[in-house]
């Protein structure tokens, strides 16, 4: 993870199009490797809940890109029932899972959760607006999904 660049997902562990589900993994940087921990909190480094939400959103976004073959770009629209059950410290290895709940016309809903060694850390229900790719973003996303090892469905 590169928290300050919002680069939250390190690698795809499993992408299951039939199950409409993805599992990814991310390692939280060391305390002295990210300025985020200088402020959150001095002497008590913890990953902010908003960045855990972003991590779940990105796993969901990659799931949607994988399923739609990069025909539309998902943008986070709604966060429901977000629960943060325990603290996440520097160096933690996060298993981030997301599954499709419903895909409508122009939107999609997912359930996402983060665990560490099987222990629930946080979860949320997320919704995304599906839109045409803004200029150049598709190229960026193609490079990103290649970097994390996601092989999308053919559109």
């Amino acid at each position: 993870m590169r928290l300050e660049y919002f680069d939250m997902i390190d690698t795809v562990v499993a992408f299951e199009p039939g199950e409409k589900r993805i599992t990814t993994r991310s390692t939280v940087p060391a305390a002295d490797a990210s300025p985020v921990f200088e402020g959150h909190f001095p002497g008590h480094p913890l990953v902010p809940g908003v960045l855990l939400t972003e991590t779940m959103a990105q796993a969901s976004g990659y799931l949607l890109l994988g399923l739609n073959g990069l025909t539309q770009m998902p943008f986070l629209m709604t966060v429901d029932k977000a629960r943060f059950r325990t603290f996440v410290e520097p160096g933690a290895v996060l298993d981030v899972a997301a599954e499709l709940v419903i895909e409508g016309s122009g939107y999609a809903a997912t359930k996402a959760a983060i665990t560490i060694d099987g222990k629930p850390i946080c979860d949320a229900q997320l919704r995304f607006r599906l839109m045409p790719f803004p200029a150049d973003m598709r190229t960026l996303m193609e490079a990103r999904i290649k970097a994390i090892g996601l092989v999308p469905e053919q559109a």
């Binding site: 629209m77 709604t78 419903i102 409508g104 016309s105 122009g106 939107y107 809903a109 919704r127 607006r129």
Partner: protein, 93 residues
Amino acid sequence: MSATFETVAGIISETCDIPREKITPESHAIADLGIDSLAFLDIAFAIDKAFGIKLPLEQWTQEVNEGKAPAEQYFVLENLCKRIDDLVAAKAA
């Protein structure tokens, strides 16, 4: 008023925080109720779940934007409810 309208009006009232009494079958979701496109996606999500359908919002929006259909055809609530009833019937057929 139809059961479909009652359900849709309840969804709009709850989703957009609009007093239920302001929502009538003649209400235009955009012009009268001030619902924007993002809020309408929230409504579509709730309608899809409530009726077990998939509102073809992208197709409707494209038709309106291209001048192939008047917005009233889809976004006046009595017309929207008729579309919902048609989609439910098509699914059951």
